[in-house]
């Protein structure tokens, strides 16, 4: 189910309407812009803007701004607190599995709790500020018809109320099965709908309820409160299905072949309810067998539940009220179904992860209350142009606050133009940077230097005149092909060396001699000795030296390091890193900018392949998160690609100073992982917990950490939004240099990392474990 179905829940009317901004459809954005305003003007309504989850294409999720006309007479404007993710359904739609809607963009989600901000003139029973449950897509705001809105009863938390639509789906299914008190029930599937069905059958008087799934992966402790037996068919054998003899079996897994399993679990003359949406064709189904056994097959899809509250049969309203009453009475345990809280800004990574692997958790929710008010909801003028791109950063004016909306006053500001952070705020000094090397990476860094606070781009340099001119002219700064000219320029405070690895040493040493501060793109040198000489030269020259390992500034890494420092993991016991991507042969020959040098392909110039070139960032995480030192390395690398000297595949294990072990597996030959996306699986665990920098980022700890309940998985979020880790890196570097402090990421950091990489290469070449030799600094 997705927003299309959410729309259907509200009798075909769109709930929170229309994207303003789509990568593919800017022209359409203007049409929608006009449509929203026409709708608003027709009813003398305001226009509101928020953000929501958009799947702009199969397998790609992002947060986009959107606009909606205010509530009409029988509608309600809600500011979302929590929206519940239905993993099975949303995975199916995200991946366009069979029987899922195939048009994009889509706006997933259909179950949320929000705060009433405005009500239509015919809505009398809801008050501003009241918390209500409603069917709406994942977004920071929603306009919904009042008949789909359920005030939260006393004692029902937003987390519980946000399951309202999922609960209604499950309850509708239970009703379709015509469950009678005392009957024996089997429920196939242990997703949120399946577990809700178990709970509801128990609450509605079933005799025995059995929960059945292939594994115990989603078997929560709370499930045992409601289910007489929790069966894992992989462990107990499928033959156990024939012994169950349920009066009613609810198939909630959506697995097409599970329909046959459901028949096996049902007694002759019983009922099988298709509660989950079958994602595909059931092979070899025998209607004759269905007849011989007298079993009825009952479909249960929410769209057929009557919207008329006075209907003689069950109605949608009756279902919602019944569900919330049962929650209030404590007959259901909704919190047991929530094992993951997701920051909406991490939606892209979350869905990517959801699509790639079977999740270990049952249910997940988006927490919209962690967003800044201006992001969640603001009123915009009729004339505000459409927002066409969603940048990560301060894309809304700080001045516009929805508080004024709640209080019924017009917002002072309607500004929604994406604003770059003002440069030099609080400090008029800037570090004048020259970027050396105008290839793809250097060009990006030059551009970032212009955007970073406290930094200015003084000039760019490349031995390739065409490249230097192109980047210099594009960015409006001087350009040169002479490195000496850069070093002799008194208008340059620091250099950012983004050149082939084997040139780093010479350029860095020269810069140090010229008293220029130095940033060296990772790796610090093309080998350990070169890196050591760079560090020594910087010390001798009395300049700051930093290795550009900018991914340390990713919010999830910053947060993870803090958690480790706070003791969430305890003493390290182990870690794992898998970093997989696909680099075409042309990358090694020419890079992404299409240059004519093959320095990346050769040991002499690059110093290595995927490990030193790409995986180095994530290897750095393993060392950096816990400030751990690697003592020994065992590795094997492989060169599987013709025409390239350097390795494209590495498998290694690390021994840390406390004896903990880590594995690293990286390859740049993994089909399906073109850049982007790349696949990063980075986890570490210790005596007290487990930390995962694998999306969605989360941690588990036995300790009370960061205000989070122990013994439970928690999201690392809400995480601050970051414009770019590279800009963040430059700002920190500049700030440290300008204030005479040591830079965050030092040359020594790069040196230590390079010592591990060097040991790995040696280990592979010599076929033995190698102790890591750290040069004395």
């Amino acid at each position: 189910m997705n927003a299309t179905i959410a729309g259907m829940l509200s009798r075909g009317r769109p709930l929170a309407i229309r994207v303003i901004g789509s990568r593919f459809n800017r022209r359409f954005a203007w049409v929608m812009w006009a449509w929203v305003r026409a709708s608003a003007l027709r009813g003398f309504r305001r226009v509101f803007r928020g953000v929501r989850v958009e799947w702009d294409m199969p397998g790609h999720a992002r947060i986009v701004p959107f606009e909606v006309a205010g509530p009409s007479r029988d509608e309600v404007l809600l500011r979302t607190v929590i929206s519940t993710i239905s993993p099975g359904t949303e995975r199916a739609y995200y991946r366009v599995e069979p029987n899922a809607v195939e048009h994009f963009p889509q706006y997933p989600g259909y179950s949320m709790v929000g705060e009433v901000l405005r009500v239509g003139s015919k809505v009398k029973h809801l008050q501003r500020g009241q918390l209500v449950a409603a069917p709406a897509a994942h977004g920071s705001l929603a306009v919904v018809p009042v008949e789909g809105v359920f005030p939260l009863p006393e004692g029902v938390t937003p987390e519980e109320g946000a399951f309202v639509t999922l609960g209604i789906i499950a309850l509708h299914g239970v009703w379709r099965g015509e469950l009678r008190p005392g009957e024996r029930v089997a429920v196939l599937g242990r997703g949120p709908i399946g577990q809700l069905a178990v709970q509801l059958c128990h609450a509605l008087g079933a005799g025995q309820v059995l929960s059945i799934a292939p594994s115990r992966r989603h078997s929560t402790p709370a499930l045992r409160r409601f289910a007489r037996r929790v069966i894992a068919t992989f462990e107990e054998g499928e033959a156990i299905l024939d012994t169950i003899q349920a009066d009613v079996t609810y198939e909630s897994s959506g697995e097409p072949q599970a329909v046959r399993d459901a028949l096996r679990a049902t007694r002759d003359g019983g009922r099988v309810v298709l509660l989950g949406s079958p994602r595909g064709v059931t092979q070899g189904f025998d209607f004759g067998g269905l007849a011989d056994r007298g079993i009825s097959l009952v479909g249960a899809h929410l769209s057929t539940l009557s919207r008329d509250p006075s209907a003689s049969s069950h109605s949608y309203r009756q279902a919602g009220e019944t569900l919330l009453r049962l929650v209030a009475e404590g007959a259901l345990d909704i919190p047991s179904l929530v094992s993951q809280e997701v920051d909406p800004w991490e939606a892209g990574e979350f869905y990517r992860q959801l699509a790639q692997a079977q999740s270990q958790w049952v249910g997940a929710v988006f927490r919209w209350d962690g967003l800044r008010d201006v992001d969640r909801l603001q009123r915009v003028s009729y004339w505000t142009p459409p927002e066409l791109e969603m940048a990560r950063g301060n894309w809304m004016s700080e001045a516009s606050s929805p508080r004024s909306l709640v209080e019924g006053k017009p917002s002072e500001s309607h500004g929604v133009e994406p604003v770059r952070r003002p440069k030099g705020t609080g400090d008029s000094r800037t570090l004048r940077l020259a970027v050396i090397g105008c290839g793809g990476r250097g060009s990006t860094s030059a551009s970032d230097a212009q955007r970073a606070r406290g930094t200015s781009l003084a000039m760019v340099m490349d031995v390739n005149e065409g490249l230097a001119r192109q980047v210099g002219e594009r960015l409006g700064v001087p350009w040169t092909t002479s490195y000496e000219a850069v070093l002799s320029d008194r208008g340059v405070d620091a250099v950012f060396i983004s050149t082939p690895h084997h040139v780093h040493e010479e350029q860095a040493v020269m810069a140090a001699s010229a008293a220029k501060h130095i940033i060296v793109e990772k790796p610090l040198g093309h080998n350990l000795e070169a890196a050591a000489r760079i560090v020594a030269a910087a010390r001798k020259g009395g300049v700051s030296l930093s290795t550009c390992l900018e991914l340390r500034y990713l919010p999830q890494v910053v947060k993870a390091r803090q958690l480790v420092k706070d003791g969430a993991v305890g003493d390290l016991l182990g870690a794992t890193l898998a970093y997989h991507l696909y680099k075409p042969p042309s990358y090694w020959q020419r890079g992404y900018s299409g240059g004519n040098s093959d320095w990346r392909a050769r040991w002499e110039t690059a110093g290595g392949g995927v490990l030193i070139m790409n995986a180095i960032h994530y290897l750095d995480w393993l060392l950096y998160l816990g400030d751990m030192k690697v003592t020994e390395v065992s590795a094997r690398y492989a060169v599987m690609q013709g025409g390239v000297e350097v390795e494209d595949t590495v498998v290694m294990w690390l021994t840390f100073e406390n004896g903990a072990l880590a594995t690293v597996n990286t390859s740049s030959r993994v089909q399906g992982l073109h850049q982007p996306p790349e696949l990063v699986d980075c986890r570490m665990w210790g005596t007290q917990g487990h930390l995962s920098l694998t999306p969605p980022f989360q941690f588990f700890s036995s300790r009370f950490i960061d205000g989070k309940r122990p013994e439970r998985w928690h999201s690392l979020g809400p995480l601050p939004r970051l414009h770019s880790p590279n800009i963040e890196y430059l700002e920190h570097f500049s700030n440290a240099v300008l204030n005479g402090r040591e830079v965050d990421i030092t040359g020594e950091d790069g040196l230590r990392l390079q010592a591990v990489i060097e040991a790995a290469y040696r280990s592979s070449r010599e076929g033995r474990n190698v102790r890591v030799e750290y040069p004395s600094t």
Binding site: N99, R176, G288, A291, G299, H301, S303
Partner: protein
């Protein structure tokens, strides 16, 4: 050695073969078949009506090969209710009871359609009318409460589901020759919250009351008398007609009609 006669379909023509009759097992009944109702799809099997060779007053019915003598396990025998003098009508009571008993459990408002044409469709139409259903055409979007599919198709594609309302009921009359099929339940059943009830029309359901049987007799008699889908079998000249049921009156078959000895 006693013999039996068997109908064999060869080159689209029915003919009779004579075969040795095996000694029935101890727990079996030696049934003398009075008549067999055949459909070409059944490939030599049919609904039969007969009696115990040792006890002519007890009449049975069942599904089996088209032969004038059958050795049937007792537990597979369906005892025909009293008053079933006409063997043809008695045989059709089996599908009639299957249809009627399936309808008994339904608590729905009476807008229904029958899909398919043939003897079973005639029977189902008569029973629905008897039960007070308002019969309509199975047009897409007709918003019906019930569709009875007598077509015997392998899947659900032709079963008239598009004529049902959401949460409507499909009664699927399953032929004895049905085979497992690949089926997508999402569009056909789940998405519209439909109910599927399947019944074998060749098996008399358990616990059929005399009252139900008596109520069905007029319908069955009318179908026997009026249906264009029911014809007597003429040995040697009867080309098989798809959809047409043919009945073989074993009692009236002259032994001179193309009998053949087993080789």
């Amino acid at each position: 050695m006693s013999t039996l006669r068997k109908l064999v379909l060869t080159d689209n023509m029915w003919r009779v073969e004579t075969l040795p009759f095996p000694q029935p097992p101890a727990d079996s009944v030696d049934a003398v078949v009075e008549a067999t109702l055949l459909t070409p799809e059944a490939q030599g099997h049919g609904l039969w009506v007969g009696h115990d060779a040792l006890s002519p007053t007890t009449r049975y019915a069942g599904w089996g090969p088209a032969m004038d003598r059958l050795s049937i396990n007792r537990r597979d025998l369906v005892t025909l209710p009293e008053g079933s003098s006409d063997p043809l009508a008695a045989g059709l009571l089996m599908p009639a009871c299957a249809i009627a008993s399936a309808l008994e459990g339904l608590t729905i408002t009476p807008h229904a359609a029958v899909v398919g044409e043939g003897l079973l469709a005639d029977l189902a139409t008569g029973i629905l009318a008897l039960r007070g259903f308002a019969l309509e055409a199975a047009q897409p979007g007709a918003d019906l409460d019930l569709v009875v599919d007598t077509g015997g198709g392998p899947g659900l594609e032709a079963s008239g589901l598009s004529a049902l309302r959401g949460e409507g009921t499909l009664l699927l009359l399953v032929p004895p020759w049905s085979k497992p099929v690949n089926v997508s339940f999402y569009p056909y059943i789940h998405r519209r919250s439909l109910v599927v009830i399947a019944r074998r029309w060749h098996c008399q359901p358990q616990a059929v009351g005399q009252e139900l049987v008596d109520s069905l007799r007029p319908v069955v008699s009318r179908v026997v008398g009026e249906s264009r889908w029911l014809r007597p079998l003429a040995i040697g000249s009867a080309a098989v007609q798809r959809g047409v049921w043919q009945w073989m009156d074993w009692q009236g078959v002259p032994c001179t009609l193309t009998p053949q000895s087993p080789s």
